[in-house]
Amino acid sequence: MIWQLDLSILTLIVICAFATIMVKDLLSAAIIFGAYSFLMCLLWTEMGAVDVAFTEASVGAGVSTVLFIAAVHQTTRRVGFRKSGRGLSKAVGLVAALLTGLVLVIAEKDFPGFANPFTPASLHVSPYYITQTLHDTNVPNMVTSVLADYRGFDTMFETAVIFTAGLAVIAILRRYKKDDRCDLPDPHVISAGYPDTIIRFVARQLVPFIQLFALYVVAHGHHSPGGGFQGGVILGASFILLAISYDSRMIIGRMSEKWNILLGNIGVLIYAGIGFLCLLLGANFLDYSILSKVLPATDKIMARSHGMLGIETGVAIAVMAIVVSIYINIVSCGKYDKDE
């Protein structure tokens, strides 16, 4: 850890946060927010949280920014001035923020020092993971082993959260009938952008490599930063890239809504299903070691490792499908181009 670096990144982060809140153009705000996320990603790396950094890069700097831009594209860039009640809500916001800040500062006084290796958090519970991960699971990346095994139950619901979000977006935005009750202007049709041959060509060539890399991230998550979630997001991003450079119709043509939903379900079901399989085999839910009964030539430790690989695959499939689905719904405002 290099404290000078830490300090400068943090300073930049605060500047970005201020800017993105203050700037009057929503598109700029979205872009600055992308930069903010990217700086965050650097900060994580600098603090040794490589998996978090990886996720932040793909989700925060990547997908979130795309979603913001898509949303701004569908609505407006303008930020108006509040006409009424400006003072009150500002006061409420200010008081709440200051109060929270004050309370947190008081709490901060009692914190053990930053980066101290002998804090309670570093001495209780977590040493077990560091020392036992190889012994218990044969997975050197302890983030993966904690994520997918020790606290695998959290992760299952984490996947369920993203699935829920995808479904929620469909539930809120999707319009099936051509003539729905809303009489406001139809959303901008994003496919009507001007065709740029160079961009399309480059994107097309890139996609296979991106996807290959994504698969590597999924498969190699045991040994290096990455795993199902990051891989899934990258896979999804590859489709989004196509959708941006061509049009969303092209993606809907390849990954129809039904398929998307089905993949999302299957992904989470793989996860929950493996857990349930453990239960059927007589162990507790998500206790992969019992899988050694059905997997050929595996002992209990390797069974855990394989179990994790299985659920990572499920996560990747689900996340990919859901990320694409969220993007398409937001960018088409729920009215898929295909329907028209």
């Binding site: 605060v14 993105t20 929503l26 965050m40 979603l67 569908q74 001035f81 916001g93 200051l98 800040g101």
Partner: protein, 127 residues
Amino acid sequence: MESIISDYNYWIYILLMMIGLYAMLAKNNLVKKVIGMSIFQTAIIVFYVSIGAKEHATIPIIAHGHGHGAVEAAIDVTHYANPLPHVLMLTAIVVSVGTLGVALAICLGIYRRYNSLEEDEIQEQLQ
């Protein structure tokens, strides 16, 4: 100097938290509120990841060469960053992107019906 640095990380998270909270409550534009929400959530991530940081520690992946079960005894706990907060924050990031998606979807829905993203204009139309 060290103590200032140690505070610095926590100061910043508090500052980000305040910025986010202020934006969520005081901003008039819905997308700005959503951005505030994202900043608010990342502030918490800063807090957690800072808990996991250790001086002179490396990333929480055991270096290659440590064979299966052979050299556990040699693993020095202070040598690796605390992996637990990282795991928790992976989940938190996913949650925040999920919330972001839903919030933006609602924003779009609102815009289509009220043709505005400004809170006061929407309230006017509601009455």
